[in-house]
Point group: C2
Chain length 209, copies 2
């Protein structure tokens, strides 16, 4: 019974996410979500109370995607691989999630439309800047980061540039070419980040996942 | 008489822009704009017909800011200065416009909220990618661009990264530190773009305007 309720919640969340992704928050109604999910409006109000709470659940689902990915590429189990290589691999994993995961895509769109949603949303970017700073500090400690760079400022720049690639890729072709755009970005950034530039060796490997 | 109508239109546009910038499209009403501008709601409907048309005029005002700036830094009169230096100078001029010009700021926010506005908005990024491509092709022809780079792909990457700096700067501190963030971005990108890396000479000069 509990499991069935969990399945209903998940299917409502995914139906809502696909509509928010296509039409935005204002363009999506509870009755659209009912139709798309095959559940009743009553089921939506029972499980999520309001469209606002459902949007908040999608945004929280988006943000909940990152800690396990960060753990996988930056956690204790990953430290056999050089930090800059892990950072590049992580960036491609995030790009694929943005391209393929409907909750991640919808959460990003809702976040951009955050002024419409009264529920408070988690602050963006700060967690990413912290995670990337930790990876660049590791690269610095290992002698792999260009020695004149400040890891925190470089991390903020990497997060900015990465976010820009997402936004522009979304506007140009719904992120279909995001892996190519990300490869072009790293081809310009890596030679400045690496103590011994070798982007042409690292990039083809890291892109594979 | 005509001049007075022009003044009224401009003061309505600026009042609307300051409210759209603060509160977004959905959070701003015609009566808020009337109060802020000191004009009547009737004057707003007379000059702009609807909130949607007023929002469109703000977005068009945003887009109209760029051609004269691009002309100044990339047009025939500017060609005495190396193209990469002109590109960096242009980026700081754009950053300052985003920080200080209320119509530019509001236009950017309305563009992010474009799903709410039925009026069709101009396509973003494409014009910037073309303008930056032309500057990098010039740098390439002058032997100043790293010879292995494709000007168009490098231009797309520069536009992506630049746009990301804007979005993150806005979220972190309403763009107060945007010139510092932009300096950090160029410090990573320029060594890869330049045929003979010398970012440390170019950046302090270009930042001044």
């Amino acid at each position: 019974m509990q499991e069935r309720a969990e399945q209903t919640r998940r299917s409502l969340l995914e139906a809502a996410a696909s509509l928010f992704d296509e039409r935005g928050y204002a363009g999506t109604s509870i009755s659209d979500i009912a139709t798309r999910s095959g559940h009743t409006s009553g089921a939506i109000y029972f499980h999520y109370a309001s469209k606002e709470k459902l949007a908040l659940a999608v945004v929280e689902g988006h943000f909940a995607t990152w800690p396990p990915l960060i753990e996988r590429y930056a956690g204790p189990a990953a430290t056999g691989t050089p930090a800059l290589e892990r950072l590049v691999r992580l960036s491609f994993a995030v790009a694929r999630a943005f391209r393929d995961d409907i909750v991640v895509r919808a959460g990003a769109r809702l976040w951009a439309e955050r002024t419409l949603i009264a529920a408070p949303l988690p602050p963006p970017f700060v967690g990413w800047i912290d995670a990337v700073t930790a990876m660049l500090e590791r690269a610095h400690a290992d002698g792999d980061l260009a020695p004149h760079l400040d890891p925190e400022r470089a991390a903020r720049t990497v997060v900015c540039a990465f976010f820009g690639v997402h936004t522009v890729s979304e506007a140009l072709d719904r992120r279909r070419s995001i892996e190519d755009h990300l490869t072009d970005l790293w081809a310009l950034l890596l030679p400045s980040l690496q103590a011994r530039p070798a982007a042409e060796e690292l990039l083809p490997l890291a892109r594979r996942g």
